[in-house]
């Protein structure tokens, strides 16, 4: 049998690997469907044939929970992530930035742009804005922000040299040799970046529970870690 897992797009590499492992181990298939968390959540609201949902955004999981679409008690915080400030290929090698309330990010940017995901809509952008705000940097930086529709697009803006710097997930930055991580935002500068997971009411079955259990198994955690994620609760 197959189990359909709706997963935030940024989980693709890790989930593909886990699905392959799972199949090798059990012979059963995990069918992942990747898209933005908001899309997936809406589809679940409309009765999508998914059994498990992993969101990059606790907000959408809250919505589904309120709608009563989750199997009670199955929601867990599965993964953690952090956001980092990155520089592109154009930046001089000795550029180093330490993020703090005194960082003059606006000056560092010059007439360049700071690439972020949509700061009011996409999780990575929301976290980034929260971090900059709490550090008191937002007001000076805001006019220089270029918002992309997702983290990868923001990463690409930096990687291609279009924007000198950007704010992205650590997982994304780690995988792109074009960019260099300047610094990680302090964990307390923004709400914890967690990826909640849950079993959906329509999809509850033994098999689903087995897959869900596998996702929290050590084997799966190792894979997630290898892709740069943190494990919630560790």
């Amino acid at each position: 049998g197959t189990t359909t897992v709706f997963a935030a797009a940024s989980l693709k590499n890790a989930m593909d690997e886990i699905a392959a492992d799972y199949k090798a181990e059990t012979g059963n298939e995990i069918l992942p469907s990747y898209a933005g968390s908001s899309k997936l959540a809406r589809q679940i609201q409309q009765g999508a044939p998914a059994q498990i949902f992993i969101s990059a955004n606790p907000g959408w999981m809250d919505t589904l929970e309120k709608d009563g679409l989750l199997v009670d008690g199955t929601r867990v915080d599965l993964l953690l992530n952090s956001i980092v400030l990155i520089a592109g290929p154009g930046a001089s090698a000795d550029l180093s930035v330490k993020i703090g309330p005194d960082t003059d990010l606006a000056t560092l940017l010059g007439d360049g742009r700071l690439a972020m995901a949509l700061v009011d809509a996409v999780p990575a952008g929301i976290y980034g804005k929260a971090a900059l705000s709490s550090l008191g940097l937002w007001d000076s930086v805001e006019p220089k922000v270029a918002q992309a529709d997702n983290v990868r697009a923001a990463l690409r803006l930096v990687g291609s040299g279009e924007a000198p710097m950007g704010i992205v997930y650590a997982t994304d930055a780690a995988a792109d040799p074009q960019v260099r991580v300047l610094d990680t935002f302090p964990a307390d500068s923004h709400p914890a970046i967690v990826y909640p997971a849950a079993i959906l009411k329509d999809g509850d079955s033994d098999q689903t529970r087995a897959v869900f259990a596998y996702l929290t198994s050590d084997a799966a955690r190792a894979v997630f870690k290898a892709h740069g994620f943190g494990i919630a609760g560790e």
């Binding site: 590499n13 992942p32 809406r42 409309q46 999508a48 990868r152």
Partner: protein, 232 residues
């Protein structure tokens, strides 16, 4: 080639072709009818129909997909009706992808065909009528052959659009490999993850190749049709 693309990717290619061909095949007759009606008839609500046909072009695809999800989804009014009466399910099936593709391609098809209809000289249709041919016969033996270049152009535009459609599809039917993961969805997914660009570009290449092939065929067909129409 089989090595070059993984099975999931081949699946996406096959699915995209299936979805696009069905999308065009089924919507073409309706498109021709709509184009003919807009070009030749006057009826109340004509401008409204024209506007509705253009909507998918005007709206961001995500919105179209969202509206499709709301109306054709399992819980949506149209979706539940179709399911109860005809057993038709669109949501999260390849049929839904085809529906999304055909709706996105529809305005392109209709415009092309409508232009072609408008350039057919009604005098020829009148001549056919004086020879005793009823309207429908005139349509199939005179009008349709004469608008064929426009129909082909519309079909190929629509096919290309269907092959490239992504926003509405992923929003409406999600991105489930083998079921609703079309080429563009697969490309999108690759672009979402670190290091996915190369794989994405490989799929882009496949997509471009398929579409170019279709384009070339359509050009040949259209040229042949146009030659017939010019009467030489």
């Amino acid at each position: 080639m089989t090595d070059w693309l993984g099975p999931a990717e081949w699946q996406a290619v096959a699915l995209s072709l299936k979805v696009s061909l069905w999308a065009i095949g089924l919507s073409l007759p309706i498109g021709i009818l709509a184009a003919y009606a807009l070009a030749r008839w006057d009826f109340p609500g004509k401008q409204l129909l024209n506007g509705i046909i253009h909507l998918p072009l005007i709206l961001p695809p995500v919105v179209t997909g969202y509206l499709l999800l709301l109306s054709f989804g399992r819980r949506g009014p149209v979706g539940s009706f179709l399911y109860e009466w005809f057993g038709l399910i669109f949501a999260f099936r390849w049929t839904g992808a085809a529906l999304a593709a055909s709706i996105m391609a529809f305005p392109l098809m209709v415009r092309s065909i409508r232009l072609a209809v408008e350039s057919v000289d009604p005098k020829l249709e009148q001549a056919a009528a004086t020879l005793g041919a009823p309207r429908l016969w005139v349509f199939f033996t005179v009008t349709l052959p004469l608008i064929l270049p426009g129909v082909i152009a519309g079909a190929i535009l629509g096919f290309a659009k269907a092959m490239g459609e992504f926003g509405a599809t992923i929003t409406f039917v999600s991105n489930i490999p083998g079921q609703t993961q079309t080429l563009p969805s697969a490309i999108y997914t690759f672009l979402q993850v670190p290091g996915g660009e190369t794989q994405a570009m490989r799929l882009v290449l496949v997509s471009v190749t398929v579409a170019m092939g279709a384009l070339a065929i359509s050009e040949i067909l259209a040229r042949r049709a146009a030659k017939r129409v010019s009467g030489a």
